[in-house]
């Protein structure tokens, strides 16, 4: 990208050269000096390498979103599993009615015109179109489903982060011990079991209506937090644990491997030789540097989940973004598909960029290139 843009940047610089010269002359006058004194630090911060790096990433994000939306448009336009206009017109509609629906939905235009219209509506009015089957505003449909997905993802994230990191640390402190072997065996099972199967097993064992022990509410018991906090919590506790399990397993393995590698380094031996307590050495020097890859993974995983946890949401019947997009895809509900795909891509890309920026801020070794 940088390479492709370099000639453009050079041209811009040449065009702006007279302006820069004027600015230099102004900066040498008295009011100029005052301006520089007052706004200098802000300007310097705004054009610092870190800031420029962030701008570049943000521009890149917009570009990626455009390409993803284009790709989604192409894929779902070229390969619909049914004729959206026929569906929208309803059963028993004749060809003339279908054609009329096609016309009002812009479906009779060439694809690039449809795409241009779609992007224009988003940029100018933040309008993502209307759902073909419920007539609901897509942006509204997504935002109304968002709390369920956020509840699910955030609750699970808290559990897996704490459990995964703790188990990883404890395992790494006593490698090859009984505890280590036990939990690492468990972690391997955790990454090997599909989340929906674990959910089915949990429900078969503990479901209120058909479980062996009647303990947890059935699927579809989700209530919004604002409506009924108690029901919200009890309906989500099992989905949280199930979703967190596989992630906790991955994080425990990652944390253990990283920490073992770090604990082997010379500077930890130095820290111990200085007389620091074992605890301080492990926590201050070991965990601190072993946890950076975890931060990355956490950001990315959370980004993916916020775009919709399709499997967990569908097995527990939680009305989140994942269910919305799945139902839309199966029903060829193009505007909703477009909206949810864009939305999910936004979270994935934003998480990526956020992780990169956080990395650049906390790790001075990262070159901002």
């Amino acid at each position: 990208m940088t390479r492709l843009l370099a000639p453009v940047v050079r041209l811009l610089a040449r065009l702006l050269a007279p302006v820069a010269a004027l600015w230099d002359r102004f900066a040498r006058t008295l009011p100029g000096r005052v301006v520089v004194r007052v706004f200098g630090p802000t300007v310097r911060r705004l054009v610092s390498p870190t800031a420029r790096y962030i701008y570049r990433r943000l521009v890149w994000m917009v570009f990626l979103l455009l390409v993803v939306s284009m790709l989604a448009f192409l894929i779902f336009y070229a390969l619909p599993s049914g004729d959206p206009a026929a569906q929208r017109a309803g059963k028993g509609a004749d060809q003339a009615q279908i054609d009329r629906v096609k016309h009002t939905l812009f479906l009779d235009r060439p694809i690039y015109e449809q795409y241009f219209h779609y992007i224009k509506q988003i940029v100018l009015h933040f309008d993502f179109g209307f759902s073909y089957d419920t007539n609901a505003d897509v942006a509204h449909a997504i935002t109304s489903r968002l709390p369920a997905t956020i509840s699910l993802a955030a609750g699970a994230a808290v559990i897996w982060l704490i459990v995964g990191v703790l188990i990883g640390i404890l395992s790494a402190l006593r490698p090859r011990s009984f505890f280590d072997r036990l939990v690492m065996g468990g972690a391997l099972l955790g990454i090997s079991a599909p989340v929906y199967w674990l959910a089915l097993v949990a429900l078969a064992l503990f479901s209120q209506s058909y479980g062996v022990i009647h303990l947890i509410p059935d699927t579809g018991a989700y209530r919004p937090l604002t409506e009924d906090p108690g029901a919200w919590f009890t309906s989500l506790i099992v989905p949280w644990c199930i979703l967190a399990l596989s992630f906790a397993a991955i994080y425990a393995r990652l944390m253990r491997a990283n920490l073992l590698e770090v604990l082997d380094q010379d500077y930890l031996r130095t820290a111990e030789a200085k007389g620091l307590s074992r605890r301080r050495v492990v926590v201050r020097h070991g965990v601190r540097s072993a946890i950076t890859p975890i931060v990355t993974a956490f950001g990315l995983d959370l980004g993916i989940l916020l775009g919709g946890a399709v499997l967990t949401e569908s097995v527990f019947n939680i009305p989140g973004i994942g269910r919305l997009s799945y139902d839309a895809i199966v029903a060829s509900n193009l505007p909703v598909i477009q909206g949810t795909v864009l939305f999910a891509a936004f979270f994935i890309i934003a998480a990526n960029i956020l992780v990169d920026i956080v990395y650049a801020l906390i790790d001075p070794r990262v070159r901002l290139a």
Binding site: L71, L189, S192, S207, I329, I348
Partner: protein, 326 residues
């Protein structure tokens, strides 16, 4: 440390040697022999390798196995296999794992499910690895605009919500008469292609990174100075050095692909009835919660298979990177 001895003394060793290997270091051994020697000492990896062998045999010999065990064929719908209430029968003497909602034997469907699971996962991994290596080597070797374009394309693919792409492609192509005007027809090939597309950017990125550093090595310079063509350098000098990382990432990819296929089939957009697949059986189970045997047996089969591949992957990674303490 002994002097590394490899099959081709002109190239640096990819598999690092440890003192364990030094005992026999005076005998020239190929990298493959070294690797195998280490893997042989890892009992868990051996057991998982054996298990995978058994699974492959089950998949290949599924019809024979079903016959030997005296099970009904997987597509046979037994109208008699219901209880007084008209519900499907649980495990009994004829159907050891019970029957499904259509009266089909769960045990034989689980056995046949191994075919779909393994063939889809292995095929899609093979395609991912081939495509990923090709793209990664080209991008890393030629750099410049090839690299710029390839890297950006990979960025886009990685930013795309991949499960949704899978569901979208699968639902368009697997239901009804196929997509692109009948060019892609429903069935296992669609699922394989989707999973392969989802997996290849990861391989391509890793390979590209490796090639970027390998191409600066002296053996590449040497090959170039004696007049080797680009194709020859890539195929004969770079690719052999990539075998180790590629093996590691393929073993990571196989269990992921098994789970991906199961997820698509679970959601009802992957492998379609009547072909039996574990994920699809689990999808049926989520709609028939009163029959515990619907979900237990295919789930266990899936768990066992993925576990075996994960264990083998761990073992291979240890064997390739023995200095890492575990």
């Amino acid at each position: 440390m002994s002097t590394p001895i490899t099959a081709d003394p002109g190239q640096p060793p990819v598999v690092p040697l440890t003192d364990d290997d030094a005992a026999s270091a005076d005998v020239a051994r190929s990298q493959r022999q070294i690797l195998w020697g280490r893997l042989k000492r890892d009992k868990v990896a051996l057991v998982s390798l054996g298990l995978i062998g058994v699974l492959v045999l089950v998949a290949i010999l599924a019809p024979l196995l079903v016959q030997v065990l005296g099970l009904p064929s997987p597509d046979f719908q037994d109208g008699q296999a219901v209880n007084e209430g008209g519900e499907p029968l649980g495990p009994n003497s004829i159907n050891p794992f019970g029957v499904d909602q259509l009266g089909r034997d769960v045990a034989s469907r689980v056995i046949y499910g191994a075919r779909v699971s393994l063939s889809v996962a292995l095929l899609s991994t093979a395609i991912s690895v081939t495509l990923g290596t090709l793209v990664g080597v080209l991008a890393g070797y030629f750099r410049g605009w090839v690299d710029a374009i390839v890297s950006r394309l990979l960025d886009v693919l990685l930013a795309f919500p991949i499960l949704m792409l899978g569901i979208g492609l699968a639902s368009a192509c697997s239901i009804g008469s196929g997509c692109l005007g009948g060019l892609i027809t429903p069935g296992v090939p669609v699922v394989v292609i989707i999973i392969a597309i989802a997996g290849f950017p990861f391989i391509a990125r890793i390979v590209r990174g490796q090639v970027l550093s390998l191409r600066e090595e002296e053996f590449v310079l040497a090959a170039r100075s004696i007049g080797a063509s680009h194709t020859r350098i890539m195929l004969r000098h770079l690719v052999p050095n990539l075998v180790a990382p590629i093996i590691v990432y393929s073993t990571v990819l196989v269990p992921q692909n098994i789970l991906f296929e199961a997820s698509l089939s679970f959601l009802g957009v992957g492998v379609q009835d009547p072909t039996s697949s574990w994920g699809q059986m689990l999808g049926d189970a989520s709609k028939n919660t009163d029959q515990w045997w619907f979900m237990l047996f295919p789930g266990l089969a899936l768990l066992l298979t993925v576990l075996a591949f994960n264990l083998l992957g761990d073992g291979l990674q240890d064997a390739l990177n023995p200095r890492k303490r575990r």
